[in-house]
């Protein structure tokens, strides 16, 4: 019994000495710092501006103006118009993206592949086609919408057309990938059950895939619409119209009153979009 106790005590000490987790955690933290330091240095991060009185005075004046937003009827009208334009850009852009994304998704998803059943003797030329379409979708989404907007401003001139085209192209590629992924995770079995009963791909799309993924797809699309709203404001800064363009003008003039009004309008818009998408998603679930 005594010997047994001693053994137990010894074993306990040995076991407890074997906790390697703290050392491992320290190593992970050190590694993370080691990796982050070059990134930090590469960005040329500096706090010098914060220490200069001039920068504080300028920002203070600007912020004081913020407390009294510009509420003249003329400017409010301008703001309302810009809001409507931003809303229109986001919505039209997303609809165009949808038109682009749906065929791309249908062409690339493996859910609707008949040759993958079995799998059938390889169809090299279907595979090449699918890879080509997938590469095209990847190309579309590889550039952020701001870059597309800069390109399209050259093409269409200043104005909302460039922003709509930019959203259509970049979101089209993004939606195509996500739609294809959603259908592969949620509709594979129902679709294949129809395909092995002799149904065609388009029939399977409507009878097997759509009812399986409808809710998730709509909910994701509404979320993307919210993102498009934010993006269209940013694209305004490169001259693509809407609230963003007005905001850029006011900020450049250091007109805090106007900037405050515009920012409030933007927040209102985003909150409204948020509420609308919540409502839509709630009604889908019900």
């Amino acid at each position: 019994m005594k010997a047994g106790n001693r053994t137990t005590a010894n074993t306990a000490a040995t076991v407890m000495a074997h906790d390697r987790a703290p050392a491992r955690r320290l190593l992970v933290v050190l590694l993370a710092l080691l990796l982050l330091w070059p990134l930090f240095a590469a960005t040329d991060f500096s706090l010098r501006g914060l220490l200069q009185a001039d920068s504080w005075r300028a920002i203070a004046a600007f912020l004081r103006d913020f407390a009294r937003p510009d509420v003249q009827a003329e400017f409010l009208q301008l703001t309302a118009l810009a809001m409507a334009q931003t809303l229109a850009i986001a919505t039209l852009g997303l609809v165009a993206a949808l038109v682009l994304a749906l065929p791309l998704a249908v062409l690339t998803t493996r859910t609707l592949s008949i040759s993958l059943l079995g799998p059938a003797p390889r169809c090299d030329y279907c595979r090449a086609g699918r890879a080509l379409v997938r590469a095209a979708a990847m190309l579309l989404r590889s550039l952020p919408e701001l870059i597309w907007a800069l390109l399209f401003v050259r093409l269409f001139g200043l104005g909302p057309a460039a922003a709509i085209a930019a959203i259509a192209v970049s979101y089209g590629g993004m939606l195509a990938k996500v739609y294809a992924d959603i259908s592969e995770s949620g509709a594979l079995e129902p679709a294949r059950a129809l395909l092995i009963a002799g149904a065609g791909r388009r029939q399977t799309l409507f009878y097997g895939v759509w009812p399986s993924v409808r809710d998730e797809l709509l909910s994701y699309t509404v979320y993307r619409w919210e993102c498009a709203l934010r993006a269209s404001v940013i694209m305004g800064f490169v001259g693509a119209g809407g609230l963003g363009q007005q905001l850029e003008l006011s900020l450049r003039m250091l007109n805090g009153h106007e900037a405050a009004t515009l920012l409030l309008a933007f927040m209102l818009l985003v909150l409204a979009a948020d509420a609308l998408s919540a409502l839509l998603r709630w009604s889908l679930r019900a």
């Binding site: 079995g118 059938a120 059950a193 129809l194 092995i196 002799g198 065609g200 009812p211 399986s212």
Partner: protein, 285 residues
């Protein structure tokens, strides 16, 4: 590459619903792959009704999926007189129209209505325009209702699949195949989620339908007594091999013991005195 069929002495190829010779199936890739079926040889005549039994993991589902052309193995396979993997894609889809697979857990979208799920059985025969129109206004509610009614589900016609229980969904899956009216019916544990009375009844509906249409039925069943009672031919699978193929009378207690050796859930008792009313077959008009 594919082994040739040894000549079939008694029947010509076209009178066979299914012919398999020296077929192996491996699933998984590379080093991870494992043999699921080995050296399967099997002939099923048109109009025959065959039950497949065996312990879980024996390869029953794989064998059925192989015959349904959902999986492809190494070896010779002819379904309804055709080698599916030698056919062009559109011809293969045409062959698949004549094959109906009842899934153990039917993969039906939760938001789809029962009527749509049943009517989807004949998509292979419908044009795209007809299929789309039927999503707006169901093309054949009467046909879908008749198939469901045989399985006591008529009143769920317009409900969504997500509102149904597992057993009810399984019967919707059977109704879809009844509506499809395939020449070869492959049923993977078609009644596993049903209570014994309902199971015998659903099986009788499926069997009567096949009998009336001259269609072939191959069903895997974990309820051995159900298989022995209701099928003139029983195939025993174990570890991916066929270890028995004959009449229920030939499958004595000792052989059954061997088939299920080491398996705890061997023979599930099924009430012997089941009164099943004969059902009219052929639900679609």
């Amino acid at each position: 590459m594919t082994p040739a069929f040894t000549t079939v002495p008694t029947a010509s190829v076209s009178s066979l619903a299914l012919q398999i010779a020296g077929l192996d199936l491996r699933l998984g890739r590379g080093a991870q792959s494992r043999a699921v079926l080995s050296a399967i040889s099997l002939s099923v005549a048109r109009g025959e009704q065959v039950a497949i039994i065996g312990p879980s993991g024996a390869g029953k589902t794989s064998l059925l999926r192989l015959a349904a052309t959902a999986l492809r193995g190494d070896g010779a396979l002819q379904v309804l007189g055709q080698d599916p993997w030698q056919l062009a894609s559109n011809k293969r889809q045409a062959l698949r129209r004549a094959i109906g697979l009842v899934h153990q857990a039917p993969p039906l979208p939760a938001s789809q209505r029962v009527i749509t799920a049943v009517l989807a059985g004949r998509l292979g025969h419908w044009s795209l325009a007809q299929s789309l129109l039927s999503l707006w206004r169901p093309a054949d509610p009467a046909g879908a209702f008749r198939c469901l009614q045989q399985l006591d589900l008529g009143e769920r016609l317009y409900d969504r699949c997500g509102e149904l229980s597992g057993g009810q969904l399984q019967r919707v899956g059977i109704a879809r195949v009844l509506y499809q009216q395939p020449e070869l019916v492959l049923a993977d544990e078609p009644v596993s989620a049903l209570d014994p009375v309902l199971a015998a009844r659903a099986l009788e509906v499926l069997q009567a339908d096949c009998r009336a249409r001259g269609a072939t039925l191959i069903a895997s069943l974990h309820a051995v007594e159900l298989a022995l009672q209701r099928f003139p031919r029983v195939i025993g699978l174990r570890d991916g091999r066929i270890v028995f193929d004959g009449t229920p009378a030939d499958l004595d207690a000792e052989r059954l013991q061997q088939l299920y050796a080491g398996d705890d859930v061997a023979t599930l008792p099924v009430p012997s005195a089941l009164s099943v009313n004969a059902v009219a077959a052929g639900c679609p008009t």
